[in-house]
Symmetry: C2
Subunit: 419 residues, 2 copies
Amino acid sequence: MKVSELFTKTSKTAPADEVAKNAQLLIRAGFVHKEMAGVYTFLPLGLRVLENICTIIREEMDAVGGQELKLTTLQDPEIWKKTGRWDDEAVDVWFKTKLKNESELGLGPTHEEPLVRAVQPFVNSYKDLPFLAYQIQTKFRNETRAKSGVMRGREFLMKDMYSFARTQQEHDELYEKIKQAYFRIFERLGIGEQTFLTFASGGMFSQYSHEFQTITEAGEDTIYVDRAKKIAVNEEVYNDEVLAELGLDRNTLETVRAAEVGNIFTLKDKFSKPLDLVFTDEGGKEQAVLMGCYGVGPSRLVGVITELLADEKGLVWPEAIAPFTVYLAVLGDNSDNNHVRKVADELYSELTSNGVGVLYDDRDVRPGEKFADADLTGIPYRIVVSDKTVAASSYEVKKRTEAQPELMNKDQVLKMVQS
Amino acid sequence: MKVSELFTKTSKTAPADEVAKNAQLLIRAGFVHKEMAGVYTFLPLGLRVLENICTIIREEMDAVGGQELKLTTLQDPEIWKKTGRWDDEAVDVWFKTKLKNESELGLGPTHEEPLVRAVQPFVNSYKDLPFLAYQIQTKFRNETRAKSGVMRGREFLMKDMYSFARTQQEHDELYEKIKQAYFRIFERLGIGEQTFLTFASGGMFSQYSHEFQTITEAGEDTIYVDRAKKIAVNEEVYNDEVLAELGLDRNTLETVRAAEVGNIFTLKDKFSKPLDLVFTDEGGKEQAVLMGCYGVGPSRLVGVITELLADEKGLVWPEAIAPFTVYLAVLGDNSDNNHVRKVADELYSELTSNGVGVLYDDRDVRPGEKFADADLTGIPYRIVVSDKTVAASSYEVKKRTEAQPELMNKDQVLKMVQS
């Protein structure tokens, strides 16, 4: 894509009321637009990042046998009343609305209830289990405050998977398989190093739940990390008993701020029982289905990755999720017939025809402006074509994360950006 | 995918309160789940169809230079008040909700206002224009009645593109280019033959708008079609003056029921003016941007295509949007070691490794049940592997739209389903 055709532009300022670093940078780079606190439009560059994150998540969910569906935003009170979660006292983040006949509806803050009702007609016998169902869907949560940019939205994207098992053992196996898929997701997203499996409160139904926490000052949680063992403990279960059980030593733990990027839960029959999700086992006995739920927030991840990797010059995207792989800047006389421009045009064609995503800065602006925008947008490789590089029959290539450019020939360029 | 692993099942009945044929069939085949009137969950098979439709639409929008973004559901009253569309009297399908501080928000029934506000910071000079922006996003409309299944939802998916031009001529060129893209979309979706460019009321700003109407008894509109000229006139502008202008003869027009599957509009400065979307032209003069909007409903299309193509045995999907290309049914003894089962397993592997989507009916059920499900789910090719076919070193292939199967060897099968 050519920068001259992209309808967004970078900006030196963000809205005055925007306090979160992630939103400030994402807005300045033209990745998102703030509709109101906690509600962000994803502009073309931001949507590409979001979709790249979703693709990685989807691939890993499919790889463990997840079946994708898409539930709805509008929620029928009936099923939520059955689980006791309709009242604003029970769930304090409901957005509610009304049909014309005055009957109340909710906007899904989470989706256990409708998912259980949707799969219920298909579950009768032990032969119908186990299975995994998931969706990537917008959630609505009426947060009192929303000051963390895209990290905590009133409207945000969520991947939520649910497991349906017959026995505790079967549940445990699925749970472990999905836990491993989560490790792969964060690894592929480029934040594996900084993301820790974190023991947190399991609520009523199991000893622990597992969070995936990414270390960042912008996080809302405090966790205690054992870097060698690659696990952590959330503040809420940080006590001697738990540490002993997990074989952790208080003295080797590091106290850090972190952002929760994923959360996996054992639900047992919490939802299946009130919503009558039962099956007949091999002995002919009726049993409640054992459930688990597994969440990860793609739009939140855009914010966390920004907080974690951005530097003073702007955004920094891991290659796997960058909106484009290459920021190609042509310098100097920019008329169509100029020989420098021709070399840049040719490289643009060659890279794109090789499947490399290129944002081609073909604008008639100063080199400094192009360099600043290349940095601000955080695209992994900047390639400069100028009089100087053409004279040297080469291209100037700089990684976003490195200070010094190097000169390369075309083969080297192709090899580098396709690796 | 194996039918034994798919968590949905077919059913002989649909909810008693469901009157629309499209929803009855889609529910029976396990493609959608009804949450409430006009609100449907897309289950795995249905979501595949929906996504296939979105992919075709996205490709055609990208091909004309559309830049995808994603606006939000939650709507800020401020901008809607500026255009006079916040009041329930002005827009009678609003769903509204409230923040905790009691300030009102809306759920987007359409997105002109927020889109204009989101692009406004990027438009200053004539050099910033023209461009096309689009999204595929859920819309919420508080319809009094919702009895047409997925054809008219209270919550439904919409692709809405917006054009931003400097002059009427530039607008007209963009409008024409997108109109042609719409023809390609309906052609690729397999309903090109039955879909007609239809002249409808243009509202305040142009003589006509253009609808794309697909002929079906389930449609809500009456149109007058000239089959030879491949155009139609909507009831609302069906008069002598319009017919004369379009060169149509009342005697050659056919009166039919049709469903609107797309609608394209000239908006002129209706939204740009109140929302201050202006640019400085080459002469230094400030001008309002000229807009157009271009809608097509992917979830509605699932319903329309169902109504149009389904027969007494169930759904019928065009290959381009079918959830799978092949329904592979293995008959007889279904144990893993059975030689017939082995032949079917091999074909399943070979087809999937060639990129052919296969729903493999590996269940231990009667042949009649497999045939009925193959028909009900509407997958384009049914391939049967049985004692008989293995003895003949062949496969029994039947198109969903044909009555008679034929025997083929593997090369013929591969050629057929990959064409």
